[in-house]
Amino acid sequence: MSVEILLPAMSPTMTEGTIAKWTVKEGDKLSAGDIIAEIETDKATMELETDEDGIMGKILVADGAEGIAVGTLIAIILEEGEDLGTISTINLNPREERIAENKPSEAQAVSAPINIVPLQDDLPEGTTYNNITVREALRDAMAEEMRLDDTVFVMGEEVAEYQGAYKVTQNLLAEFGSERVIDTPITEHGFTGLAVGAAMAGLKPIVEYMTFNFAMQAMDHIVNSAAKTNYMSGGQIRCPMVFRGPNGAASRVGAQHSQNYASWFAHIPGLIVIAPYSAADCKGLLKSAIKSENPVIFLENEMVYGQSFDVPAVDDYTVPIGKAAVVRTGSDVTLISYSIGVKFALEAAEKLALEGIDAEVVDLRTLRPLDMDTVIASVQKTNRAVCIEEGWISCSISSEISARLMEDAFDYLDAPVIRVTNEDVPMPYAANLEKLAVVSQERIIKAIKSVCYKGGDQ
């Protein structure tokens, strides 16, 4: 019996992959456990082993082929004695069908990004853009700052030799060496404290958490050591450092690996908290964070690591900390969000434009300090606000925005501010339940219509 080799999902968020290279050729004899190909996923280059003995019968996808969907038939292994001619049941070009059968669940799939092009105002005339992924933008930011300042170093689990659990630190080890790109043991409490000490001594550590879920182990050093020391020392001891890594729901990884800690950190005086969406903001704000003399929490989102945006091709491109951006102008309602929520807001805005509702979208970008001036200026224009957040509702960033709008812009509001967030439950694993738990387009649109008094519950 011949065996069909389908491109397997090799990470929770992998929807497609690249066949980096085949390590066998047609006609080669194979034993179970042999490596037959190297597959590049969204996170790493993985080796694909065969589970079967046999002969490599047919390779259906060439070396270097990119964007091969998970589930695609990529090769056929034959039993000894078999040959391709005898197998009439296999359609050698069934890619489309296979993909349909094995398509990742909808909850897993991330739709294409809506490109946010940075405003031209602050850029030199004739600036060109590079279309790069968020992952590359973050890496470039670190590499550029490390070139500029030799006190900057990166530490974390798998940041060096493995090239980053999510490939964000790819190639840094080769350029900067193991003294500045440091693999740590799995010891978040310890290495965070160590990095705080190094920062107090004047170095500029970038601490990568494989995910912010693991930063819970290090919470004491973030909150009690890094955030407080400048104040407690009367301004003597600084903590110029960045804590960064993916935050928020990934995909199908369950309750302990899918949570948004933005409001936890934004609660703490002495921290700066940044949660950008686009690649340009990721690059510009990470550079600003590294240059900062303060401890900065830099919240990334795994679901957008692989998405591409235009990033200005200028030297030392930075984005100021503490400044929100109006990423879509509109006159009827203000949508306020950050991180991946901005994408949901932009998508909702596009949909509603077809129904005659003109939404403005504010990307907070920095969560502490909050740029309420930009939010209020927008609400003064639209008189309506909906907060969108991929996270829990209680004590959320949305709650804070809502309260501040009531305190500082009450007279401008023609409707209550509504918060549209994830459901108030631990993240379930089941695909259908996960989809129900995460903030949805339907709920966003319903909320927008309700504050505009168009349809919905009103």
Partner: protein
């Protein structure tokens, strides 16, 4: 029962359990000048802490206030082995460490009274004081948290390729915090120049070592991490200094980290509000009468005829005057301006 400090013990990592051996301590040597200097330093610490205790009783110092009385030999002996550029940090029982670093007692005491002239502008308090200039990195209020931070200071020394060391003090309570072992692991993995000093005063607040620790020979706590450990009589400043010299040399040669357990004792409660009912008065008075670090040096000075009773009295008087002056200063310094509430939260950029 008072636990009289045992003879020095040491453990070299990487050998079987039976390797624990009693090292016959040779009598450490010191010059006359050194002896007198140690005496003055320790007496200054004692008088300072006594004054702090009085001022606490008068309501001039608030919150927690952890006195170092009884433990003076530890920090005095270690500081004597250090040089410019070395960094030290400790827990909240930090006043003496600061005095040892050469920080003006006035601004320490003014911090204790929460005044504008305090070293942290009155915003840190007894437990949270720092001096970048003197290499003192706190003053940390969370038990054990200073250990990875001190390891990070050592990391910075190594990163900058200097031969400076980080002295990281912690107590017998902190030794049961997990982050201590995370630090040991990284310190050895990366051969960081850090000297871990366990100040074993035998009580973690009200809990004796035996009641909280499965392994009470704390100098062995680094064994699994291949960190050499040594137990030293922390009531004897000369023994401390001798061990510190060796530890510092090891670290400067790039062969750190090193672990030293200092057997010591605090005469006062854990903090000012601790009635210390977990031990007997006899235990305390036995330690005071038989092992007091200041008395030990005083006897040496008198027996060796280095100083007369009168000269010792004169020194005591001079030190008391410095402390009184500091107390005056700390009481007369104004409270911080209300505008200070919102300063130093972030570095302005």
């Amino acid at each position: 029962m008072a636990k009289k400090p045992s003879p020095r013990k040491s453990v070299k990592s990487g050998k079987p359990t039976a390797r624990r051996k009693n090292v016959k301590a040779k009598t450490p040597e010191a010059t006359n000048e050194e002896l007198i200097e140690y005496y003055k330093t320790m007496l200054m610490m004692r008088r300072f802490e006594e004054k702090a205790g009085q001022m606490y009783g008068m309501g001039l110092i608030g919150g927690f206030c952890h006195l170092y009385i009884g433990q003076e030999a530890v920090v005095t002996g270690i500081q004597a082995a250090l040089k410019d550029g070395d960094s030290i940090l400790t827990s909240y029982r930090d006043h003496a460490h600061m005095l040892a670093c050469g920080i003006d007692p006035k601004i320490i005491l003014a911090e204790l009274t929460g005044r504008a002239d305090g070293i942290s502008s009155g915003k840190g308090g007894s437990m949270h004081m720092f001096s970048v200039e003197k290499g003192f990195f706190g003053g940390h209020g969370i038990v054990g948290a200073q250990v990875p931070i001190g390891t990070g200071l050592a990391f910075a020394h190594k990163y900058r390729k200097s031969d400076n060391v980080s002295v990281t003090y912690f107590g017998d309570g902190a030794v049961n915090q997990g982050q201590v072992y995370e630090s040991f692991n990284m310190a050895r993995l990366w051969n960081l120049p850090v000297i871990f000093i366990i100040e074993n005063n035998q009580y973690a607040m009200g809990t004796s070592l035996e009641r909280a620790s499965s392994e009470i020979e704390l100098y062995r706590r680094g064994e699994s991490f291949k960190i050499d450990g040594e137990m030293v009589d922390g009531m004897d400043v000369l023994a401390v200094k001798e061990a510190a010299d060796r530890a510092v040399a090891t670290c400067r040669q790039g062969k750190g980290p090193v672990l030293i357990e200092m057997k010591t004792y605090r005469y006062r409660g854990h903090s000012m509000s601790d009635p210390a009912k977990y031990r007997s008065k006899e235990e305390v008075s036995k330690m005071r009468s038989e092992s007091d670090p200041i008395d030990q040096i005083k006897r040496r000075l008198l027996d060796g005829k280095l100083l007369s009773e009168d000269q010792l009295k004169k020194i005591d008087k001079e030190i008391k005057a410095v402390v009184s002056e500091a107390a005056e200063f700390a009481q007369n310094s104004p409270e911080p301006d209300p505008s200070e509430l919102y300063t130093d939260i972030l570095v302005a950029e």
